[in-house]
């Protein structure tokens, strides 16, 4: 916008740059409500991505392996790095700045820029403008903020980074007077350009600072180093042409409802929330969007916060939103049961929105699957989200481990990407032959006796005490069936190094009527795992 017409020298926009150092750490500390001086490290791909000042004092550095970091700082709290959290938690900061200065550009979470010319005239001077920003951010609980004001984005960023070394601890501010940016930048090393290859090359040519680099003739630089070099040259010369592009504040799509006094009954809450849910869906519809993933945050009277992300196989309408809020509240309980403490606030946030056009119904509907979905959603609203399931088959040795239930709507049926265990791995010890048609949800207690009527057992070396001759299965000692044919013991030793591992023996038994059973012997006790009925 300030790009000068050809002929006159290009000028840079007067820019205010706001920098919150270690924003991922600040965001994580706030999200998990940790102490400000906690030793915290955010981990991405097994390496430390960011660490708090306390951790840094103990020698934790970015790029360190987690184990090494934990060795250096034993009380280190490690959390996974969540880029979405950065974005999300920076949003209130942006909104607060937007309320006092128009046209904020978010460069990345923790770093935003504003054109300084207009606001500084409004507030009287640049210092006054900066102090207004400091007080505004302090009001939302953000004190560790640095501000740099200079000509151009690049110079302002460097000024903000220098600001921490200035004396004023309360308001770290660095203002470079208009026209002095080239002078200010001239002493910086080449590394701040963030172009390592170019920096190495220039150093070999004997150029060591931005001042040396800026002293070269612009036309020569362009001829020798191309467009990229010319850009770096302009940045070093303090005539950064990157204008501040203010963001358009996004439409407010999330919805928050406060309840005063707190509501203690789920049906009350569902009733009270319905209007807001309809307005929420209506607003999305107005923006030409539909929501496919939703985050519900519930705050209760006693200070608990329950947060959960819900997916939907199609998209949420108002009933679905109310259902999700209800399900999250009731957990496994009934719809009419009371809550442990009253709910004071419900916040619903669309995590993923998609274009309405992609989800519109076809002229003749979108086939039978739609009716299946609405029918199942009805059952879910009766019984709860986890009552209607689809199943996928995972890997494992025990039959109960091999089936994985997914609540309807949580993931596309048949998507195996989220499985904890891969079915295609060998799984030594899994069952050969046909799969039993009935696998008990909980193993059923059973009894196996030898011909003399004594219990059959397997010793530590896997030797059977006697051949099984009679068996029964069921809670009460039912009829005893003679064993016609049998096989076993087939030992299974799962995770012997882990206290949660299991050591058991498997048997197949067939009675004279031709019904076959799969039995487990674990810790000297018999269980029926499954039956081939």
């Amino acid at each position: 916008m300030d790009s000068a017409p050809d002929g006159s020298p290009p000028t840079a926009t007067r820019t205010l740059l706001l920098w919150c150092p270690d924003w991922p750490i600040t965001a994580a500390l706030r999200e998990h409500s940790l102490e400000a001086d906690a030793a915290l490290a955010l981990v991405a791909k097994g390496e430390v991505f960011a660490c708090s000042p306390a951790a840094r004092q103990d020698g934790v550095r970015r790029g360190l392996r987690v184990r090494e970091a934990q060795a250096r700082c034993p009380h280190l709290i490690c959390l996974p790095y969540d880029p979405d959290l950065d974005q999300r938690s920076f949003e209130p900061v942006t909104a607060a700045v937007e309320a006092i200065l128009p046209g904020v550009q978010v460069l990345r979470p923790g770093l935003c820029a504003v054109r300084a010319k207009g606001p500084s005239r409004y507030y009287g001077s640049e210092e006054k403008m900066a102090s207004v920003v400091f007080t505004t951010l302090a009001a939302i609980g953000l004190t560790d903020v640095r501000i740099g004001i200079a000509d151009g984005l690049f110079a302002a960023e460097q000024a903000a980074r220098v600001a921490e070394e200035t004396d004023d601890a309360d308001a770290p501010l660095c203002i470079i007077p208009p026209g002095r940016s080239p002078w200010f930048l001239s002493t910086f090393p080449l590394d701040v350009l963030d172009q390592p290859k170019l920096a190495v090359l220039l150093r070999r040519l004997g150029i060591r600072s931005l001042g040396d680099w800026a002293a070269l003739e612009a036309a020569d630089v362009r001829n020798r180093f191309g467009e990229e070099g010319a850009l770096a040259h302009r940045m070093a010369s303090g005539i950064d042409s990157a204008a501040v592009v203010p963001r358009v504040p996004p439409p407010q799509l999330d919805t928050t409802v406060d309840f005063e006094p707190p509501l203690v009954r789920i049906d009350q809450l569902a009733f009270a929330f319905r209007m807001s849910a309809e307005a929420f869906v209506g607003r999305l519809r107005g923006a030409g969007l539909v929501c496919t993933v939703l985050r519900v945050v519930l705050s209760s009277d006693s200070g608990e916060v329950s947060e959960r992300t819900w997916q939907h196989p199609r998209w949420f309408d108002a009933d679905d939103v109310v259902d999700r809020v209800r399900w999250q509240l009731q957990g496994g309980r009934n719809a009419d049961s009371g809550l442990s403490s009253g709910i004071t606030r419900v916040h619903v946030d669309p995590v993923t929105v998609e274009d309405l056009g992609d989800h519109a119904d076809g002229l003749w509907g979108t086939g039978p699957d739609e009716s299946v979905h609405s029918g199942l959603a009805r059952i879910q609203s009766m019984l709860g989200h986890g009552a209607v399931l689809t199943a996928i088959i995972a890997g494992g040795r025990l039959l109960a481990d091999r089936r994985v239930y997914i609540p309807w709507g949580d993931a596309a049926p048949g998507s195996a990407g989220t499985l904890p265990r891969d079915r295609n791995l060998p799984w030594p010890g899994r069952l050969p032959g046909p799969v039993p048609a009935t696998v008990f949800a909980e193993p059923v207690p059973a009894v196996v006796l030898d011909a003399a009527g004594n219990g059959v057992d397997v010793d530590g070396r896997g030797v059977l005490s006697a051949d099984p001759a009679f068996f029964s299965a069921g809670r009460n000692t039912g009829p005893r069936w003679p064993v016609q044919s049998w096989a076993g013991p087939w030992p299974i030793t799962e995770r012997w190094w882990d206290p949660g591992g299991r050591v058991l023996n498997r048997f197949q038994l067939v009675d004279p009527s031709g019904s076959a059973w799969l039995f487990l012997l674990e810790d000297h006790r018999w269980w029926a795992e499954a039956t081939y009925d």
């Binding site: 059952i379 399931l389 689809t390 088959i393 048609a437 949800a441 197949q508």
Partner: protein, 266 residues
Amino acid sequence: MTPPAAGALEQDEPSFSGSGASGPRLVTAPSPGSLPADLQQRINQMQASRLDSKRLPTVPALARILPGGGLQSGGSYSVRNSAALAMALLAGPSAQGAWCGVVGLPEFSVEAAREFGINLDRLILVPAPGAQWLTVTAALVDVVSVVLTRAPEHLAPTDTARLKARLRQRGAAMITLGSWQQSDSTLGVAESVWEGLGSGRGHLRARRMKITATHPSGRSRHAYLWLADLQHGLRDPAGGRLPAGDGTPDSADGGDPLFWPTLMNS
């Protein structure tokens, strides 16, 4: 397509010797023979397509003993003592892309269901409907083609009649494990023998079963089957056709002296 070919052959017939003409006759003989059977089958199907008796795809091994030659939409069936048999009944519609629902059976083994050819992407499980069994089953009947359930012990006759009417209206079939008063047929495993297991050796490999289907009138039919017949029953016709399709060129190559000369003569 067959009649013009046959006509063309018959037109050609006088110009060749009698021995040469016998070849084409042999080749075309099966199609007029099977034609009445085909027609009869089509007539049967059209006669059977009354409102309440559209047929759902069924495993052939079971279709033979079920009344009406297969699962009827709107029908209800009970399976006495075998979850495997119930799965085999589900497998037919599921393999054709129908949605299936399983209500109140937490011990239903989805892995076995997959072995039977049930499409798990279109299988809905409601393991614990609790006290709302009837509502849930009725809601599922609205949206899926086959519902497998364990009947509750006490159900008012009016509720049973209403569920039955809902089934007929929606064209869905219901299979219950355990007895169900108004079932169209009751299936059960009467005899069963396992193979592959000795005393302390081997593992279960194959199962030979006698399956009975009892009509409410007391008439019953039975069939002797291998478990594998139920599991691969759906793949069998396709599998049966494929070797036949491959076999024809093979036998033509192998049987050069027998058939090819006569065909080329004609």
